[in-house]
């Protein structure tokens, strides 16, 4: 026992290490400031729980290889990550201009996140993006005032309308203030080294599976399974670490989760676009010289022929119908709520006249918003 260092020496050594740990923590927190600034500029979400899970997993693995208890280390890292997020939040609150708070459904790298980045990145004052689990949660946060804007997918060129969004629009509490067209670039992603002929299961959002229906028919040995979102499906492929499982998601999801693109062209050649709607609590005035659309929702009087009469009234007033969608009314089988996208401003003479004609044909009618028409980028 003679060669054991005395207690004082050991305490000095520990103090030195503590100073190193604190210094490393300070440097880590300084980086958090830079991360907050770059997230605001690049329109990336401040907090992404699934990404944090991935980080924690790496930490647990590193802890094990260092001979440390992975669960104890995870507890410490959860605290460090909370500190980092709190630091980023306080930096954002100190900004001179308030960043725009935008919500969407999906995790980082999902098509909704990519669309939000396309629209808001580089905005002066920055953008604070938050990904939610579902469109319903996004809209609830908007209604509670926790968001300035919500961005939700409404229609895709190959899979058609997004029913959930229409049903949410029917509930009210939000106004349509814009629309956005975003190109969708699906890829078949697998683990590095995976081969198409070995894939047995493909995970993705049901809409993405529908958009790639032609491709999936050519590979009948692959069973499609629905997932909550595309990017989440890619993450699952990484986590399962099974070379027979693939995902349909974006190239950016492949990079984020270290997956390989197994097949590039899995979509119709004409290109695939998703139309997103932008929602706010209050309407934004549209200048008179901007081409715009007005969306309204109606429930028709319960008598035969009303749908035809509505369409005739619009035609007689010279109002062009850009899209007509119907959704079932819960509890009233085979009765529908209609959504009409009309060309023109709700305050223009033809629309005012047409809405007047529609009134007696409907049991409820609501204008959901007038908003600038998105540029048609025909593929």
């Amino acid at each position: 026992m003679a060669d054991l260092p005395d207690l004082e020496t050991l305490r000095v050594a520990i103090e030195r290490i503590d100073a190193e740990i604190l210094d490393a923590l300070r440097r880590r927190m300084d980086l958090a400031d830079d991360i907050a600034r770059s997230k605001l500029a690049a329109a990336s979400p401040l907090r992404d729980p699934r990404r944090e899970d991935l980080v924690l997993r790496k930490v647990r693995e590193a802890a094990t290889s260092h001979g440390l208890d992975p669960h104890e280390i995870e507890r410490i890292y959860r605290l460090i990550m909370d500190m980092s997020v709190a630091r980023q939040q306080s930096l954002i609150q100190r900004q001179d201009t308030t960043p725009l708070r935008v919500g969407y459904a999906g995790i980082e790298g999902s098509y909704s996140h990519l669309a939000a980045r396309q629209r808001y990145a580089g905005r002066s004052g920055g953008v604070l993006l938050t990904g939610f689990e579902s469109g319903r949660e996004v809209l609830d946060a908007l209604r509670r005032g926790e968001l300035d804007l919500a961005l939700l997918p409404i229609e895709n060129t190959s899979a058609g309308s997004v029913n959930e969004t229409y049903d949410l629009l029917a509930e009210g509490g939000a106004t349509l203030i814009g629309e956005l067209l975003s190109q969708v670039d699906h890829r078949l992603l697998g683990l590095p080294g995976a081969r198409l002929e070995d894939i047995r299961t493909v995970l993705s959002h049901p809409q993405a599976l529908a958009q790639c229906a032609d491709f999936l028919r050519r590979v009948p040995w692959i069973r499609p399974l629905p997932e909550f979102d595309t990017s989440g499906a890619a993450l699952k492929v990484r986590e399962r670490n099974d070379p027979t499982v693939a995902a349909i998601a974006s190239e950016s999801a492949a990079q984020r989760f270290g997956l390989q693109v197994l097949v590039r062209d899995i979509q119709p050649a004409s290109g695939d676009y998703t139309r997103f709607v932008e929602l706010a609590r209050e309407a934004t005035p549209v200048p008179p010289d901007v081409p715009c659309k007005t969306t309204l929702t109606v429930v028709l009087e319960h008598r035969p022929g009303t749908l035809g009469q509505v369409l005739t009234a619009l035609a007689q007033r010279g109002v062009n119908l850009a899209k007509l969608e119907s959704r079932p009314i819960p509890g009233e089988p085979w009765r529908y709520r209609f959504f009409l996208d009309l060309e023109g401003h709700a305050a223009s003479a033809p629309l005012i006249a047409a809405l007047g004609d529609l009134e007696p044909l409907t049991s409820s009618m609501r204008v959901l918003g007038t908003y600038p028409r998105a540029e048609e980028s025909r593929g």
Binding site: K323, R327, W334
Partner: protein, 272 residues
């Protein structure tokens, strides 16, 4: 026809199998197919006498895939039936509701029972069909796992019905169409279904629908589906009446002249 062979999508015990019997009677021989497309292909190639496919649910809305396939295959529509859907929670004998952690089913069935699942803290797991998930639960017996499917699936796969009618809204109906073979239906209402595409000019839709509206013909349903070219659509139109009636037949001719493509898929009886 003695005992017509009728294709349906899904495993044995699917709601679609129930629909084939409701449409064609107990003597019909239901033929399971792995996909909706396979049902259409089996009818088109004559491997079976007819098919039954869901096109709409009163809570979830259209079954888009089948609306697309109706347009693609142009098979004759021969009848319509609304089937009341009662979802059951099925598990191997001995399983209790309290012990459940997961439930497998088709995403639409899971969505229709979302309130029940939340209330009992059960995690929904998506599967490709309802009866198939019952079969999986019966064969693999994963612990603390149930399926949502029909009572018929429980009987077929030897599962226990833990709870019947777990759907959140009671008015849960699915509308099925029969294809090919003609079912014997007693209803008095007749519908005519049309699929059409329009010339790409504004107002084209107005012009076509105006043909029917101006003749006081009732448009029961109008649905649009994407045409795989950005923002162009196939329209599916359900009209009241039979195509042989002079007023409707004349309107169909007039409407066809305004369209790029126009096909009448059938005039058929609606089951009471």
């Amino acid at each position: 026809m003695g005992s017509p062979r009728i294709a349906f999508q899904g495993e044995r015990g699917a709601y679609s199998e129930e629909a084939t019997r409701a449409l064609f009677g107990p003597s019909a021989e239901p033929v399971p197919c792995p996909s909706f497309r396979a049902v259409f292909e089996a009818v088109a190639s004559g491997q079976v006498d007819g098919g039954a496919v869901p096109v709409e649910n009163s809570l979830a809305g259209s079954v888009s895939e089948n609306v697309d396939l109706l347009g693609e295959f142009s098979l004759p529509i021969t009848g319509e039936l609304s089937l009341r859907i009662r979802h059951c929670l099925l598990a191997p004998a001995g399983t209790t509701l309290e012990g459940l952690e997961r439930v497998l089913s088709h995403p639409q069935a899971l969505a229709q029972c979302a309130g029940f699942l939340r209330q009992h803290g059960i995690t929904p797991v998506g599967e490709s069909d309802t009866a198939g998930s019952a079969k999986r639960v019966a064969q693999l017996a994963p612990p603390r796992t149930a399926a949502i499917a029909s009572r018929a699936a429980a009987d077929l796969y030897g599962l226990t019905v833990l709870r019947e009618g777990i759907e959140d809204a009671p008015d849960n109906y699915t509308r099925f169409l029969s294809l090919g073979a003609v079912p014997v239906l007693t209803g008095t209402r007749i519908k005519t279904s049309v699929v059409l595409t329009l010339e790409n000019n504004p107002g084209a839709l107005h012009a076509v629908l105006g043909v029917f509206a101006s003749r006081s013909l009732n448009i029961i349903r109008l649905e649009s589906r994407p045409l795989r070219r950005p923002w162009e659509y196939v329209f599916c139109l359900d009209l009241e009446g039979a195509r042989e009636e002079p007023r409707l037949s004349e309107a169909l001719d007039a409407a066809a002249r305004l369209c790029r493509s126009f096909r009448v898929l059938g005039s058929y009886r609606v089951a009471d």
